[in-house]
Subunit: 132 residues, 2 copies
DNA sequence: ATGAAGGTTCTAGCCGCTATAGGGTCAAGC
DNA sequence: GCTTGACCCTATAGCGGCTAGAACCTTCAT
């Protein structure tokens, strides 16, 4: 017999805020199986698993749109795996591109930080560098 | 004699969109020196320099709030340089922290990408890994 | 029956823009 | 002087992924 839990219990079980769960619902990612007469959302283990899935995927930096696609694919055992691969692959490319940008930024900020030994803005090489 | 330019000319000169310049104005970063009778914004070299400053600072990933602080400091020759340093330093720390996160993400995504040789979702290790 | 804890919807805000609508202004050519 | 077309104006809404708040309703233990 499956137990039904409220949004607060689901939130606790998945370390996700209740508002966020409702937001995911509005984005079409996860819905309650039913509601109480008073309108409280009720969930089962299936939704808990789904939320854990979402959480993991979000930790990989995937957009909610990508997560939604993955959930759709996961629901269909016969779906071709290629689409899953390409979502992951594209994310990897985005991450690598962002890494490059950030490494460049780090170098630049590090250089800037080194170069200022002044007391006042008048002699500050950082301000000078930004003003060129 | 200083020449006055319109927002479009300023936009071209600084490679910033006119809408963005107006947005910066609403955020208190840069204002026109005056307006035409018809209400057109007019700028001088000073504003052009200010926009170039903003652009450079934004390329370092600084928030508009930080840029605003830097502009304020840059305006005062006698301001102590320490505040400038700390804005840069904190940004460097943020960048380094983000770099760590992204490197972790890259490893994880790379691992995921390697591990799936399946045809369908039923055997897909990626989906499995996300579902645990 | 009551009160606390938790639930509901709706709206607005965050950042840094971008897009759209519906208008007004400017300078040049006729 | 008039028209044209490029440019400008304000105001509003949207993006993503939440978060916060108001005003109200439900549930459950006592």
């Amino acid at each position: 017999m499956e137990s039904r839990i409220t949004i607060g219990q689901l939130a606790k079980a998945t370390d996700t805020k209740a508002v966020t769960i409702r937001y995911y619902e509005s984005a079409g990612l996860v819905s309650p199986v039913t509601r109480t007469e008073g309108g409280y959302r009720l969930y089962t283990d299936r939704e808990r698993d789904r939320l854990i899935f979402i959480k993991r995927a979000r930790l990989l930096g995937l957009s909610l749109e990508d997560v939604k696609s993955l959930l759709g694919l996961a629901d269909d055992e016969n779906a071709p795996c290629g689409q899953v691969d390409s979502i992951i692959h594209e994310q990897l490319e985005r991450v690598r591109s962002r890494l490059k940008d950030l490494q460049q930024l780090e170098r630049e900020l590090d250089r800037l930080e080194q170069c200022c030994q002044a007391d006042t803005v008048a002699d500050c090489k950082i301000i000078e560098s930004l003003s060129q």
